[in-house]
Symmetry: C2
Subunit: 508 residues, 2 copies
């Protein structure tokens, strides 16, 4: 008999739904092998077919909007409005990939025609495009039960690339995962494609992660979660006989810098906005401002006083699961013991996995030797660092890689050096704003130097698709043996770069 | 007193030039630290300045063409015509990067303007471009004393990206390395840039490799060489506190498949061409056809008979260094012992590091269980595998990743399945041709699945530049705080994608 586990409502601590069967090694291996068997058929789908599939998946998920919002609200305790918005973000980002794929934007065809006069030697006919990698293992994130879970950004970009997906459900929202999986499978079958291109794996057994990383048929890993698990996946991937890329979006502090001048102008408004950003989603966003840097002067003190007043009335929803609560409480308790650190608190939430918002205030001289302060802590906490303005650059340079970082400056401020230093660390820089809220668009970049990300790629936005393809060039191939996107008459009618010129027209 | 080593002429075994001082840990670390200090200044150069630098480097190297050909001929024993051609390839590929950089082709600017009606939530102003990584460690290859050495493709693409370079000379051609380094440095100084953006490190101490991989300031590694050293670099890079990407171009067999029909048509011509490709550069190309697959029928036997006749008269130049000779002789001796393997030989070269061309003939049923046959062996050797035509697909699927693979087929042949299988393995597929000779152009791809390459990137051609940049997006930045390529008036006048439309015009 197979093992089972049951979802828990974070607001009440009570069970949600029926016990769920955990997949064993044989089942996980069979899912990967089955996905591998259909990879060529899936890779051969045209841009139109691929786009139709993505749109069908989006429609199928949208048709379950209320049910999905309801079950994910029960499993995550995130408000109905939030999870309803997340269903729509999920659907919209799948459709954005459909639009990209329809125009062949993922194929990047480059054609250099044969040139006997090319130097230093004659050039053959060379035609390059991007090919899907093969089976991809994806790990659902706890904090986005829809938009970065079963049919979230990683799965959408892998399917758009033409890669079969085996996705591991997050055990904090297994029923949401199952409902999304059913919606996706229904759409795949309706489109006449093999359902094996998409499989859900359930369980709390940590070995499942190893199986998904080690299977020889797996060609890449998409992951959003902790640095600890991200590092494990990178290690497992490198130890394989054939190493594979790991696209892990891991820990980030997303430091927010306030210049003295800007603090002087709007201390109350900025304090409220900073705390709103830090407590959004109960502080469980990967883009949470985990470090807030203010000047150690009266302007900074005014900001901190405003934080204290505002925070005192703030209460946040319960955390997503018991593990997050334990790690949050342990970290808060440990950090609070340091006598150089002040603790500001909000309103305790006594229900289920509820906790008390806790913001630390510390001088830079004390913070820089306290490693725990400069690590990511999931939940309603952040660290306000008091520093001389001329120390901001040192703070920026001390930080590891970041998903995002903000600079709040007045018109009179010269922050070019600070921005240049942050450019070396972060994947996204925000001016006079906060790092939470990530738009899904072509220009988006959600990734940053290690440990924010294990690669120089983005997991949000259209460029995420390029994680799951690789270039292949065809030399002197007869037209009818080439992939369609490289054939002379351009049957997909997509943009191609031919002898350096971007064009849609056929090659004569 | 520092240690020294001396170059050896492979044709004579005699010393070339004066003893060369080996760099110690302090010197290597100092070079990296100095490069790191000037990285911001170098990153801030405009496309015009960067292109001018690359063109000046090309001119400076070209002005030494005869001297460089002479010294590298002495150190490599490669013919004067070959090394002269290689000087020109080096110069031409640097100029190709200059042309790319001048048009901003490395910046890939994508701008999504703020949109209050964007779904699911309002979109801020998002502007993304590519930023240089920082200091890059590059390892010169033994077999391309110019085109993949000090100022070869890796260095050219890293400098084009705006990354300072610390390059390790290959101890087989240290004087060539020094001469190229002097030419590059002269150009850098003439352009008013700090010479610390480019440093040469010399030595035979294997620890140098570790120092260059472990230094905290190093942000990426470019390497062309053996799978053993490539794997070491990947391991060192992953063990760092901050892991970094390794772009290693390692071993490849580049299998060449001949259908029975094509063998029947031109057995003599194809046999000669295959052997010419296998013996080119004394079999020391990473694109050498290391596996040649023919049908186990009369057509295949005719091909093999022609190989035997042609090979009997072939003599090749000496190998590049003593290590390659030892590994070649050991491999040939070991493989020759198997009684299922036939050995065809050419003319012995008794001088210096000369060896005897040796081609193996083996049936697939014997080859597939003989691991040594399916590994890369540098030098004038290749393995002709006899197989039933219906076994070709199995052979293709058994192979690891490849830089390149060729299919020779007649008009009547259906090889779609074979090509599809090879697409999963190789970075370049050649129709009715041989894998040697790699054109440096936009459509080129020189890379393939592991172990041919440690990443899904190319080390030859313009796309090589993208290994040394990473995306950064700026959210709601004031125009004057943005990198120039993202400012409204498009000061570089380069192509940008604005709200999905490719354009050069300014944003109003």
């Amino acid at each position: 008999m197979s093992k089972t586990f049951t979802a828990v409502n974070p607001a009440t601590g009570q069970a949600v739904g029926e016990p769920i069967a955990e997949n064993n090694f044989e089942e996980v291996s069979a899912a990967i092998a089955a996905a591998n068997k259909v990879k060529k058929e899936f890779a051969a789908t045209t841009p139109t077919q691929r786009a139709a599939l993505l749109n069908a998946i989006a429609d199928s998920i949208e048709s379950q909007k209320e049910k999905l919002a309801d079950i994910s609200n029960q499993e995550s305790a995130l408000p109905i409005a939030r999870v309803t918005g997340e269903v729509m973000r999920t659907v919209i980002q799948i459709r954005a990939f459909a639009d990209l794929v329809k125009t062949g934007g993922h194929l990047l065809p480059i054609i250099d025609l044969a040139d006997p006069n090319f130097l230093p030697i004659a050039r053959p006919d060379l035609r390059k495009s991007q090919q899907p990698l093969g089976v991809v293992s994806i790990f659902a994130a706890s904090n986005f039960p829809l938009a970065f879970s079963v049919a979230g950004g990683d799965s959408a970009s892998a399917l758009a690339a033409g890669c079969p997906v085996v996705v591991k459900a997050h055990p904090s929202h297994p029923n949401t995962c199952e409902m999304v999986y059913q919606a996706v499978t229904k759409a795949i079958t309706q489109q006449g494609l093999p359902k094996e291109i998409f499989t859900l794996v359930q369980g709390v057994n940590p070995e499942i992660t190893h199986w998904l990383a080690k299977a020889p048929e797996v060609t890449a890993i998409g992951f959003t979660g902790s640095e600890m698990v991200g590092r494990l996946l990178v290690k497992l991937a490198q130890e394989r006989e054939t190493p594979i890329p790991v696209y892990a979006e891991m820990g980030s502090l997303n430091p927010v810098f306030f210049t003295p001048a800007v603090l002087n102008q709007r201390p109350e408004e900025l304090a409220k906005a900073a705390i709103d950003s830090a407590l959004l989603g109960s502080g469980q966003f990967c883009t949470k401002p985990g470090i807030i840097v203010v000047s150690d002067d009266s302007a900074g003190d005014k900001f901190i006083a405003n934080v204290q007043t505002y925070l005192a009335d703030q209460k946040v929803g319960p955390l997503l699961n018991k593990g997050i609560v334990t790690r949050f409480v342990d970290a808060i308790t440990s950090i609070s013991k340091a006598k150089s650190i002040r603790v500001l608190t909000g309103v305790a939430n006594p229900d289920g996995f509820g906790v008390t918002p806790s913001i630390f205030v510390v001088d830079w001289k004390d913070a820089k030797n306290h490693a725990e302060l400069l690590e990511e802590h999931f939940g309603p906490t952040s660290v306000i660092i008091r520093a001389r303005y001329d120390q901001y650059l040192e703070i920026a340079e001390t930080m590891g890689g970041q998903l995002a970082s903000s600079v709040h400056a007045a018109a009179s401020d010269d922050v070019k050096e600070l921005v240049a230093a942050l450019t070396q660390k972060a994947g996204r820089l925000i001016w006079n704003g906060f790092p939470t809220s990530v738009s899904v668009t072509a220009a988006q970049n959600h990734g940053g130097q290690w440990p924010a990300s294990s690669s120089h790629t983005t997991s949000v936005g259209l460029d995420a698709i390029f994680r799951f393809v690789r270039p292949v060039v065809y030399q002197n191939f007869p037209d009818d043996q080439l992939p369609a996107e490289l054939q002379n008459d351009n049957p997909y009618k997509i943009e191609r770069v031919v002898n350096g010129v971007r064009q849609i027209k056929a090659i004569n």
